[in-house]
Each structure stands twice: as C-alpha cells, then as structure tokens.
Subunit: 228 residues, 2 copies
DNA sequence: TTCATATAATGAACATTGTTTACTATTTTT
DNA sequence: AAAAATAGTAAACAATGTTCATTATATGAA
C-alpha cells in the first residue's frame, strides 16, 4: 500500500510541475490537458487517473505560487529599510511578482473556479495573499507605532483592492500603457493610502459642509503624492 | 450601394443584439459563434461575413454597455442628494451595474483583447468608464468646492482601482462572501478615500486637526452599507 | 518460476467549439 | 432572360475536453 502512495504522489508531482511551468512560461491560455500531459510525459487520459480535471490541477498550483510569491517579497525586502517605506517596498514586490508572471495573476484572479464551495479556502488564500506576503512589515509598523493598530485592517483592505485593481487594468487592458507608468501609479496610490490620516474622536454637530470645505481647502495646499 | 449598407448594418445589428443578450443573460462563458448565430437566426459561417471573428463582435458590445451603464448611474442619482454623498451614490450605482451583469464585467475587464494595438480605444473607454459615469457628480463637487480640483484626478484614480479590485474579488472569488458585505466594503472604501487627508509632511496646526476630526466624524456618522 | 489477476497507461473515439471552403440559392445587372 | 455577383449554408477540418475499451506491465499466489 505504501508503494502506491509514493508512486501516486510522484505522478501528481509530475503533472503539477508541468502545469506550473506552463503557467509561468506561457500563461493560462496555453495550459490544456494535452500540453500538460505532453510536458509530464504521459498521455492526456492519464491525467484523469490522478486529477478530476485540468481545473483541479491548475488550482493545486495556487499554494506553490503563493509560497513562491511570499519568498519573492521576502528576498526583495531583505536589506531594505524598515517601516512604512519597507511596507511599500513589500507591496511593490508583491505586484512585480505578478508582472513577472502574468499567468499566475490569471490563475489567482481571473480563472473561473468551477466549484466555489469546494474552493473557498483557495479563494481566501488568494484574497489574503498580499496581507500575508507583507505580514512582517505590517507587524513592524504596528509594533513601532508607525501605524495605528486600529486602522491597519482598513489600510490593508485599501491597499489590497488598489493593487488588485491596478494589476487587473495593467495586465488585462494595458492601462497605463507602460510599466514605468504602472509603477508610478502604484507609488502614488501607496503614498496616498499610507499618508497619515486624521482619526480624531471628537464629535461635532454643526454645519458640516462649511467645515468640510474649509478644512479641505486648508489641506489641498499641501502637495499630495510627492514621493519617488 | 446604399441598400448594401443598410442591409449590412441590419445584419450586424442582429448579431450584435444576440451577443449582447447572451452576455447579459449567460455571461461570456456561453457566448460562442454557434450560440450567437443561433440567436441571430443564421448559420455560424454567416457571422464571418460581417465580423472578423466572435471576439471583434464581443468587443463591439462595449460601447453599448458603456452607454447603458452611464444611463443606469444617471437613473440612480436622479433625485438623490448632490455633493460628496451623491458622488458616492454614483460610484455605488456603477458597481451595482456590474453586479447585475457579471458578464459585462467579464467583457470589460477579464476577456483577453486579441489585438491590443487595435483595441486601445476600447481599453481607454473601459478605463475611464467609471469617471465618465460619475462625471456630473465630480463636476458638481468641484464647482461647489466640495473637492479641490487639484486632487480630483488622484481621487478618481483611487476610486477607480478600488472599485475594480473590489468587483474583481467579489465577482470572481466570492470575497467577501455576500453582497451585503461587498456593499459594506465599498462604503468603507469610499468613505476612506473621500475623507480629507493630511500629508506626511504636513505641519498642520492643532486647530486644523480638530476641524478635520470633526468633519471626519460627521461623515462616518452616515449609515454605512444601507443601500439595497 | 510460472501463471492468473489487478491496474497503469494509452489509443481511439466522441463531443464541443472555432474557422474555412465549396456549393446552392437568390438577387442584381446587362 | 441569361449571366454575373452575392448571400447564406452545410460540411469539413482543427483544437481541445473527456471517456472507455484495450494493451502492457506489475503484482501476488501456486
């Protein structure tokens, strides 16, 4: 019985490796049962002995790419400064991973998940992948009181949606048109989000709109998005 | 020569209408040459006399959906209050259009554009669709000095990436898991973005901060996630 | 070792979809 | 009305997903 498991695991590994290679090199477009089987060195029919279909196989790659992405971020922030700038570096490293492997972006965010109930865990992994990849930096910023602990979850969400939206537009619609401009946009967005906010606790009941305008005008004189 | 044009335009219209119906009702998945041709009442081969392929046809739908989306937003903000809250309403209406027609979201943001050089205009239309749909509200806010003209482009970009990212996660990965929670997230994000900010280098007086706080609290007191 | 059995792997078949082409029917032109 | 042009189609081919009967190999009992 043990031999069967070892051999089965090996077989699964061959198909998994083939799928990962194809995803990274060619993108989701050229991942199909025949190309996977070819690369693995088996007939297409053999794949169905080890996986329900190519979709299951493809989503099994998510865990590995997730680890690879985290490692990519860790390597990038090694030796970089800590603090809010380090956090920005981590987020940018996360983004560049998907720029480097657009096929992995497709897998994480574009490819339809056949059975969503069955793949809830994978969806959550994907959703939290950015937060996880930058976890060290978040913890550092919180522990050094560079960010207020109570606003961190909100900041994570803002950065998450912004990064995903930016990647979606750039990778799928080539807007902005160049990587340089993309990197610029990302920088601007991160600066805007991570700028100190006012989170006072005072209550007010008087003429909101007038105050709003007044405050607003007093604030816009300071240039926004001036980093990098 | 004139008859040819009229007839050709009609034919194109039949295929276009069939494609739009399928996209709205069934999503991109069930849009294919045969289903389009069936619905239009012709053979699949006929489609190739009027369009390069189904992809060209599909992307021709973008203009119509863009108009429909703008109309949807206009209808929704009719009779709603103006100002920053009206702007939020417009953005939320934009989002609900894609919640209602996930197939249109796929078309706008997911479907691969074969020839990107040829489709640059469409990509730009898609990219600016949110800004355009909310144009009235932006203009109102600027003219009433509720937002400062100089920061508006930055705010537009932030809202754009956030809304696209949020829609991507919700429609493709069911995160968050319910529409209610999605609407909540959108509200939180819009509030965060449209709140007045200070910059990292702001040497603001304490009086500014107090005013700012006051405004902040007055804004968040508005119930969040109350639509639908 | 040999033979019977289980199972791993496959070739071939079928379904679905994209696309082209030769053919037919209709319309237009002369 | 005959000839030419055109519209529309059926049928064929290719690429891909999927299943299944068959083959080849490994396993285990005698």
């Amino acid at each position: 019985m043990k031999n069967k498991e070892i051999q089965g695991q090996r077989m699964r590994g061959y198909f998994l490796a083939a799928t990962k290679d194809l995803l990274k090199a060619e993108g989701l477009r050229s991942v199909n049962v025949r190309s996977i089987a070819d690369k693995a060195g088996y007939s297409p029919a053999t794949m169905y002995s080890y996986f329900k279909d190519a979709n299951e196989l493809v989503f099994l790659c998510v865990h590995d790419f997730y680890e690879e992405c985290k490692q990519h971020v860790r390597n990038r922030i090694k030796g970089s400064e800590k603090g809010v700038d380090g956090l920005k570096t981590a987020v940018k490293a996360y983004a560049t991973f998907f720029i480097q492997y657009p096929g992995v972006f497709e897998l994480f965010f574009i490819e339809k998940m056949g059975d969503l109930g069955n793949k809830k865990g994978i969806a959550d992994l994907i959703n939290t992948s950015l937060d996880q990849a930058c976890e060290e930096e978040w913890i550092y910023c919180i522990s050094r009181k560079l960010l207020h602990a109570e606003e961190v979850e909100g900041l994570k969400a803002q950065i998450r949606y912004t990064v995903f939206g930016l990647l979606l537009l750039y990778l799928n619609r080539r807007v902005p048109a160049s990587y340089t401009e993309f990197a610029n946009q990302l920088n601007l967005q991160l600066d805007a989000i991570l700028q100190p906010r006012v989170t006072g606790s005072a209550r007010s009941t008087s003429s909101v709109k007038v105050q709003h305008s007044a405050v607003h005008n007093s604030l816009i004189s300071v240039k926004i998005g001036n980093n990098r």
